[in-house]
Symmetry: C2
Subunit: 156 residues, 2 copies
């Protein structure tokens, strides 16, 4: 290696180390964009890993306020109501419309579509809205502490 | 006024002024209890002043995610869907089950009962759950920025 190339390589390594060090000491503060990104990862996890991927975004003490049901508290109870995600005929997709964050709390809300098959195998779609409250956990990750859904009219 | 009474009065005034000054400079930080207290005031305002009292707790840019309806954005739209509160046969009561707060955001959730009369005048009750997201406004007050409800089974 020519001496000036060596110097550039050393400078690059030092710069990379300094940037890595600085990022681990002062992580980027969470923003509304953090929650929008989490929503994308959340949906991908549910689509590719089913209920296990879906539940990995929930805090241990999360509560689910499902339409027509009593409140479900804790991951085991929520996991039971969401087990339908493991059925290959069921497809849940959602679209965040808004995200806000302050301190250790944030929320997203938006619309969802649930696609399944009736007993004759015909595809049926239902529509709804959701709100999700996220909380920063002691380990620094953001998890869902409340998840609520209800029905929407079929879009015209 | 006797001199010692005058002295007591002056001391009282000074003490009152000092307390008022201190409380306006360093207000008690908002806590989950702040939101629980707001929920009580919110329900009282709705019960005694109808829709005007109810809407006074909403932020201008609030969104309402009502069951079976599309999202309603802004106080005029929300006010329209809640106009049923002005009918003396309609009684909406709710019970917060949980409150949390961090930074400028907080939330409450719980259950509600809606009591009305059918066309024959018979009293009917429906049950549901709600989640309310509160946000500290530029003037320091906490207002509702999101309100969502859905159905619950009739309690056994």
């Amino acid at each position: 290696m020519k001496p000036y190339l060596y110097a550039i390589a050393v400078v690059s390594l030092v710069a990379a180390y300094a940037m890595a060090g600085s990022s681990s000491k002062t992580p980027t503060p969470a923003s509304a964009q953090t929650l929008r990104q989490l929503e994308v990862e959340f949906m991908n996890a549910a689509a590719t890993q089913g209920i296990a991927g879906y539940m990995s975004f929930y805090a241990d003490d999360a509560v689910q306020l499902g339409n027509g049901a009593d409140a479900q508290k804790g991951k085991p109870a929520i996991s039971k109501t969401m087990a339908f995600l493991n059925d290959k005929d069921n497809h849940l997709a959602w679209t965040p419309a808004f995200a806000d964050i302050s301190g250790d709390l944030g929320y997203t809300y938006g619309t969802f579509q649930f696609r399944t098959r009736d007993k004759d195998g015909k595809s049926i779609i239902s529509y709804g809205k959701y709100a999700t409250i996220w909380k920063k956990q002691p380990d620094g990750t953001w998890k869902i502490v409340l998840d609520m859904g209800n029905d929407s009219p079929t879009p015209k």
